[in-house]
């Protein structure tokens, strides 16, 4: 008996999502982020893998796109415009240092590996951006949210997320092969749009937010619909759809932002998981072996540069050496946004794109798993190195 298209489609999707739920459960039990496991699942499927999706391919491709938008929308919802602007004022120098220390190694590695200027720019983004999801969860799990170094860590993450809003449009233009002049034009447009959205959100955020419906189902539909529309407009204007979604998130403010974040969390979890799997599906597992060594070197170098970044950021806040090491290791995990960057650039870059995707997958696997482990050993290492700490005076 031949199965019809719908039956195959539903069976494929069902098997995939059930598999993902098992993997997410395994990740939670192992105290690991889920992203690397989703990637591995994707690698095992598709090109060069065990089985390939057939009927569900078109749906997965679209769902993956939506997953990126929901990831960036939730990211925008995390922050209020006040927090973004306030952090930018206080921590801009650290943000610059972070960009140089962690972006440059990726760019250099990309050039050395022959990925071309566009591939190198993308790899710089992959190594630059820490995973705010993995970091925030690890800080919570380790009970470090109240630590004195934590605001410095969160500040660096916030600036990276803002930087993404300018970086992604530039990357989009560069990978499509537009010239330097067009690139500069897009930078100007991107900076302009981000500034306008921040100013409008600061001045009129609450008033705009009040236009949204209150009932949960209406609110969900309104925000998702609005995000898709703005993302579409942004994509048409070559500002990158993901940035449009991020800016919608920033513009929604206050209690409503909290409510929307809760409402959309399950949707985001589902679609983002599909995105990570989809990214893995596009990679031939046999292409991982040649990039393993460069990925490991790149991971080691950019783990060290993140530690340096956190060390400086926490030092500026008057934190002691032990805490500065904690801040440094906290920034090491890379995850969802490195994959977003690679996923955006790889399809347009042909052979270099395939190498970029494989390299990024390897790199994220290493640091999404290794980063949280480093965070756990930070204090014991600091004690071995006899790094000093702030001691309370005259405690009785």
């Amino acid at each position: 008996m031949a199965l019809d298209h719908t039956a195959v489609l539903l069976l494929e999707l069902g098997a995939l999502v059930v598999g993902l739920s098992l993997l997410a459960g395994l990740a939670a039990r192992l105290d690991l982020p889920a992203v690397p496991l989703y990637l591995v699942a994707g690698l095992a499927l598709g090109q060069g893998g065990l089985v390939a999706p057939t009927e569900s391919e078109a749906f997965l491709a679209t769902a993956a796109e939506v997953g990126v938008l929901l990831l960036l929308l939730s990211l925008g919802l995390e922050f209020s415009a006040e927090e973004l602007v306030g952090t930018l004022r206080r921590q801009a120098p650290v943000g610059g240092l972070d960009l140089v220390l962690n972006g440059v190694p990726g760019v250099v590695a990309g050039l050395l590996l022959g990925l071309g200027p566009a591939g190198a720019l993308a790899l710089g983004g992959v190594t630059y951006i820490s995973s705010s999801g993995v970091v925030a969860k690890a800080l919570r799990d380790l009970g470090r949210l109240g630590n004195r170094e934590t605001p410095a860590v969160l500040g660096v993450l916030v600036i990276e997320d803002l930087a993404m809003a300018v970086y992604l449009p530039v990357l989009t233009v560069v990978v499509t092969g537009a010239g330097l002049l067009a690139g500069l034009g897009v930078v100007a447009v991107a900076v302009g749009v981000v500034t306008v959205v921040l100013v409008v959100a600061l001045r009129h955020g609450p008033r705009l937010t009040r236009l949204l419906p209150v009932r949960p189902e209406l609110l969900t539909l309104a925000v998702v619909g609005l995000t898709l529309l703005v993302a579409g407009i942004a994509e048409a204007a070559q500002v990158s759809a993901a940035v449009g979604a991020f800016l919608v998130g920033v513009a929604v403010s206050g209690d409503v932002a909290d409510k929307v974040r809760d409402l959309l969390a399950p949707l985001r979890d589902l679609f983002a998981a599909v995105f990570f799997v989809w990214f893995g599906i596009g990679i031939d597992p046999t292409s991982l072996l040649p990039v393993l060594a460069p990925a490991a070197v790149l991971a080691a170098v950019t783990a060290a540069t993140k530690v340096a970044t956190g060390w400086v950021a926490a030092g500026r806040e008057g934190v002691g050496p032990r805490g500065r090491l904690r801040a440094g290791t906290a920034l090491v995990p890379r995850g969802e946004f490195s994959i977003v960057v690679a996923g955006l650039a790889a399809p347009a870059l042909g052979a270099a794109g395939a190498v970029l995707a494989a390299l990024s997958a390897c790199y994220v696997l290493l640091l999404a798993v290794g980063g949280p482990l480093l965070m756990r050993v930070s204090d014991p290492v600091a004690d071995r190195l006899r790094l000093g700490a702030h001691r309370a005076r005259g405690v009785t």
């Binding site: 927090e83 973004l84 952090t87 605001p151 916030v158 702030h390 309370a392 405690v395």
Partner: protein
Amino acid sequence: MSTPRPLEVQETPLPGIGLRHDFRTERGRHVGVVTYRSGRRELLLYDDRDEDEVAHALVLSEEESSGLAGLLGAPRLVQHLEDAIHHVPGVVVHRIDLDSRSPFAGRPLGDTAARTRTGTSVVALLRGDTVVASPGPQDRLEAGDVLVVVGTPGGVEALTELLRG
């Protein structure tokens, strides 16, 4: 009772998470509270060895933290006094709101001569979030204050009348 040292609470935003407040106790312990945007709270005790680090974090739901605040703070004062005095026959604890039409708003507590005239003691003044415990005759009453008084039912009633003017 010594005069309480004013509490120097530091507020630090935690972007994407909420707010942190922290202060140092008279005995030198570093204590803090993280307020998540969901309303959940974490009570923090910092490490003596490394005071950048939290040694103990106690996660509290919204209900638990307001319950704890009640146990520690002012709003339950009357309840506590009532519980304490419950078994003393003939004595009641009462709250009296001082409104702006009262002749004593803006005047020192001593002007009411409450003890002499009604046999009733004013044991505390609640003013917003602050408490003036065991106020003296020179402590000024303000419109909106809540007086916590202890006395006989008749005395308390007489004082209520007196304050109303």
